[in-house]
Symmetry: C3
Subunit: 348 residues, 3 copies
């Protein structure tokens, strides 16, 4: 377990500091639970009272926070992103040794960088290229002609089909599938004729993809995930989608074919986006939104209803199914009341 | 890369043609982006203007379309299904060599057709049968006694449990699981007692199953997927469902246990179907539908609401939760207004 | 195929019986389809008429049921849970032989119980501990330092990351991923900074987890699944969730980060639960519920609307988007009508 000194962390974060520069920490904990060997952080001012009681060895705080003199502090402009930045130091996943595990199958035409590592039971097909320091963990399968950049991590049992391109620093979590066939079929004489999916998938740099995600290959052109996109577990991205730079997609969301999502968007969990739509930059969909039309204005969007006790809900759900009728009754009432009111006015 | 001549494609599609029969193409592109080595197609008449500017080497058009004389044409009754039919020729996935990869484990009692192929790291259990020309790609696992027909493709890391039957020409994309236990438990004395799932899964011919799909084995009888069904990624089909012939199920849809879906239905993405329902043939559920009752009439069905700007939505969602109360207020208004109107009538 | 006698089953279930104690059965079927070699059960009194026609060799019934004398009966207080209990005897999955398959990779520092079994192509990392009688089926991957108790079944191609703890009698179905990184990123200068996920996952005893489930590791503290929890396929549980004892989660449900679900809850299929919520014990969410607030009262909850024919639905969905306006119109009507009625009252 590595230990890091206040002096080292201050340099790493380019942060001001107070206290004993030789104090070291070996892990991260929140203020309430931290022990002296923990680094902690104060993200929101409403929790500042914890500074008086915390036992944390070092605390990251905002520049202007007042804290007890006894604390070892790192002072930064944004404590939460500073926490994110240093969290990397405390990661305990042991890296896989460089080189090719003897139980992996690597086609002789594949080009594996010397510093890359291929885990046990992996299968690397013909003409694959794997960049420097990229780790392919056990059981992952890379299809013919696919290319992975440098410093990627491909977790166990991921499947990357043929003709898929990944940039540098792409992380793909376990059991994700990139490049399976898009769901393309033509209906003819009561049968589905498969449309062979001839495009690929292109994924930019600095992309993180969660576990059990599916990103399908394009029908003719490629499916495209731009730089800096982050994708949570169980997301489905259909063929020929384009996901703009820096967009974040939360768990279980599904995006149908040929939809283009702009840059810096966020999609909450379990959002459903129809196909062939165009969503502008900086659009934010709350969880469980159902998106059936293109959105050209940045903003926050929602749909649906929220839980109620079931008896109350049931009545309301029935009324939803009659809304048009009730609107008609309101309109009729308005006519009657207005006519009566006109009559009254006339009489006066 | 294979090239196909106009003459060859015309024979393949049994289509009429115009132009130079020796013109060849090596890929498919849409009319706007096509180069001379591309085949393209005109699917919708509103795009007919592209025929004047396209550089495509060959274009598939409807029989009666007027097109510049300079174009090489394939004339068919349904250009989209003709495109689907020829797309197969341009598929670039290299087939896996026949035979059993030395790193695969195949139980000595398994019967593998000579023309079948078993990829690296596969595991084939006792009494499995694999038909002619079926490809089992790397890392796939087939459980005891399961039988796969001819010309199937099982993509990497698919898991087929014991006692699962697949017909001919079944494609299963990566990381899909067929035959895991259905979610069956009896509640007793505050504990869940597992109901062992003793049925299997039967899948017909010409079925395509996407990536990361789960189709559970039956509790007592089998779960059944009929011929010609197509299933997109991330779909969940629970134990003892029956999915009728030629039905299409889009991504992320979940179907609860013992529900029977008719033939030629379509289920959009993220549809939720409750258990123990019966859905007639030719029923179409739009995406995100919530289906909690059986449907006996063919037709198109929907539920839910669609995205709005969040402030507007929030007000409406609150009102949804009060619908029953507002309906009561409308009814009361109607009574008052009607009474008043009766009174007015009397006075006259 | 094993056969079990009425006498044996009566002892196994500690049940009263009638009939020939030497009658044997080798499988389970429902009353309508059972043959003489089948065990069957009568779960609901409305199906009691089947007792007169069933050909089942043995039938489990409630203590007080009247049945033809010719039937061999097992009389119990709860036939459904008795069926669940005996179902285990009829399970036909062949257990994997003890020991380590030669094609598996097991790090020399891993401690594997002698009665455990490691299937072909598995990868077991450093410092892993595997308990007695635990089966790790082909292609599963267990990360560094993870510990599995006794009598677990880990189905093919499951991935358990580093630092994950499983109790005894835990079943994990295929392609499930436990311990992938939680979706934690800090937004800074238009970029996402990854928050390394330093916590693990702790799973209690007697937990069953379906296929293609994702349970993410915690950011700082662990994600926790308590004893006796059952989880269906395609469920997503985000980082730092706590799922209380005996709670059941149906397919395709997603639970966002840091949410705590109480004990003995049930979540229907495709339920969406927001992050940082607290749900009390004995709360039941119907399928497709959208849960965006904490729930402190036990009970049954629902949200959403149910399918309608699309034309009717479309009108109602439009009206949902105008609900606030219609409510305003109702209020205005009420004012006008009330004023008029006051005026009428004054005149009288």
């Amino acid at each position: 377990m590595n230990r890091f000194s206040l002096r080292h962390l201050a340099e790493y974060l380019q942060a001001d500091w107070n206290g004993d520069p030789e104090t070291t920490v070996s892990g991260i904990a929140n203020l309430a639970h931290a022990e002296p060997h923990h680094l902690s952080f104060l993200n929101k001012k409403q929790f500042a009272a914890y500074l008086n009681s915390t036992r944390a060895g070092i605390v990251i705080v905002k520049d202007d926070v007042t804290a007890p003199e006894s604390l070892n502090l790192l002072r930064v402009s944004n404590p939460y992103s500073a926490y994110a930045t240093v969290s990397r130091l405390f990661c305990r996943r042991p890296p896989q040794p460089q080189g090719i595990h003897p139980s992996a199958f690597v086609d002789p035409t594949a080009v594996i960088a010397p510093s890359a590592s291929i885990g046990s039971g992996c299968s690397i097909a013909e003409d694959v290229e794997i960049g420097e320091n990229t780790e392919i963990l056990p059981g992952a399968v890379i299809g013919a002609g696919s290319r992975l950049g440098a410093n990627c991590i491909i977790y166990p049992n991921v499947v990357i089909y043929h003709g898929v391109m990944l940039g540098d620093r792409v992380t793909v979590h376990s059991n994700t599938v990139i490049g399976a066939d898009g769901f393309g079929f033509a209906r003819h004489n009561d049968e589905w004729i498969k449309i062979y999916q001839l495009g690929g998938v292109r994924i930019g740099n600095d992309v993180e993809i969660g576990a059990s995600v599916t990103i399908d290959r394009g029908a003719i052109d490629d499916t495209v995930i731009c730089d800096g996109v982050i994708i949570d577990d169980q997301v489905h991205i259909a063929h020929n989608c384009i996901i703009g730079r820096g967009t974040a997609i939360a768990g279980c969301t599904g995006i149908a074919g040929s939809t283009e999502i702009g840059a810096s968007c966020t999609l909450g969990g379990l959002v459903a986006v129809s196909g062939h739509l165009k969503i502008a930059d900086n659009v934010h969909f709350n969880g469980s939104s159902v998106v059936t039309r293109s959105i050209s204005e940045p903003g926050i969007y929602s749909s649906g209803t929220v839980v109620q006790e079931v008896h109350t809900w049931r009545k309301n759900a029935v009324r939803f199914g009659q809304l048009e009728q009730w609107v008609e009754r309101i309109k009729k009432l308005e006519k009657v009341v207005m006519a009566a009111s006109d009559e009254t006015a006339e009489k006066k």
